[in-house]
Amino acid sequence: MKTAVVTGAAKPESIGHEVAVRLQKEGMQVVVLDLYEEGFSSLPGCRCIRCDVSDPSAIESAFASLKELHVLVNCVGGSWEITKDDLRAGPRRGFRGLTNCSLDDWNTIRGANLDSVFYCCRAAAPLLRKQGGAVVNVSSVAARKGIPPGAEGSSGPYAVAKAGVMGLTRQLALELGSAGVRVNCVAPGVIASGRLKKVQAVTAKGAGPEGPLKQIPMGRVGTVAETAALIVALCSDDTAYLTGVTIDVNGASYAA
């Protein structure tokens, strides 16, 4: 049986949750790392570990319990509900850019979105090298185009951290390619996740965390199912010759 680690999978209606469910359905042993313990019961059959992925020692001990690893999917992220203290807080109101965020915001958001991927990949690398495997990181369209001033539900530090995830993906692709480990990235636009619902519950209708929804050429937001299907495909042999790339999944709202 192959083993997968998925971070940020415990929240209902999240991309990570759907990825964990699909990998398990494919017969993998799925280990979930997340702070949101209430969600663990929604992942029967997964091994759920309460873990703050921005804490390197917590990551080290979580990975130390693994004997083997074939797939790592880094889904943890966001600009809010990312620490144990604000796990159920909902979106903060107002625009948070680089010039008006607090240093705490910067460190916390970078920690959850970029440092976490670094820690998990480092801890996973020795296990993945043994027989090869796949890493999929989740970036964002925010890394491509930034967050327009006034938009709520996302943040400037998030856009920067997610751009870091793309760079990390490329660097790791070079370091792990010879061991048969592929490292790729997806950059979703606006996806109809539980988190988007929370943003839309407090912001103006038609507003999205990355700008007005009516500006999306495909005329709709993406679904969690299609985004998760893409991530799962990046773990499969269908993409055996892809490494270091970021696939934009944004309904044609930004072409890189």
């Binding site: 494919e26 993406g222 799962v232 993409t239 055996a240 892809l242």
Partner: protein
């Protein structure tokens, strides 16, 4: 891992006589897709059509109807003609002085005009149905430049990327996703017959060692990505160019 959303669909695959097109056709057929395969090169049961000729595409459309997926594989660094439908690859790098205006125009026509004409014929049919996927073929030559294939091929494939982005915007409101695949070094029969990267065993090894995954691609590696883009996994991917090159170039 299975791909959802392919079974029972209808696809048009161009350039299907050999190599990548042939692999795409076979992969989609294995997934339960009804494939209409075409090529300028008469092979087996393929529909023969010169895709630089709008009249021939119209005749092709009469046979195909409205596909769910249009896969524009047709093209290559050397333009085929009706008397030589599968020309050999050049044995060495092409520089400006090697390319005359007629060759330039022929390669642009084979790679870019063909994609334009096929989209122009089939996209309106897909628009009426409010769904569909178009996958165009670019090349690593357009993504990072090329010291081998010549400016005509690189420029044509760059045009394919721009055509892809523009059609993604234009057809998005009709539920049609349009993407491009930019293959790197793929060991197709035509490439294998040429001397690319094979001036000596050492040169060949060095050539492959420069690829992070340490090997040339296979036509099936490309077919897998086409299948992914046509499946549930590609539903919200549009305007993208996917670099499939073993890590040789990561994209912009």
């Amino acid at each position: 891992m299975p791909l959802e959303g392919l079974r029972g669909k209808k696809a048009l695959v161009t350039g299907a006589a050999s190599g990548i097109g042939d692999a795409v056709r076979k992969r989609l057929e294995r997934e339960g897709v009804q494939v209409f395969a075409t090529d300028i090169h008469q092979t087996g049961d393929l529909i023969v059509a010169d895709l630089t000729d709008a009249d021939q595409i119209e005749k092709l459309a009469a046979k195909v109807g409205t596909p769910d997926f249009v896969i524009n594989v047709a093209g290559g660094p050397v333009a085929p003609s009706r008397s030589n439908t599968l020309p050999a690859m050049p044995s060495q790098s092409l520089v400006l002085e090697d390319i005359d205006p007629l060759q330039f125009a022929a390669v642009i026509a084979a790679n870019l005009t063909s994609a334009f004409l096929v989209c122009k014929e089939f996209a309106p049919r897909m628009k009426a149905r409010k769904s569909g996927r178009i996958v165009n073929f670019a090349s690593i030559a357009a993504r990072r430049g090329s010291d081998r294939v010549g400016v005509h091929y690189a420029a044509a494939k760059g045009g394919v990327i721009a055509l892809t982005k523009t059609l993604a915007l234009e057809l998005g409101p009709f539920g049609i996703a349009v993407n491009a695949i930019a293959p790197g070094f793929i060991a197709t029969p035509r490439i294998e017959q040429s001397a690319w990267g094979r001036s000596s065993p050492e040169a060949h090894r060095a050539f492959l060692d420069a690829i992070p995954l340490g090997r040339a691609g296979k036509p099936d590696d490309i077919a897998g990505v086409v299948a992914m883009l046509c499946s549930e996994a590609g539903g919200y991917v549009s305007g993208a160019t996917i670099d499939v090159n073993g890590g040789l170039y990561f994209g912009p």
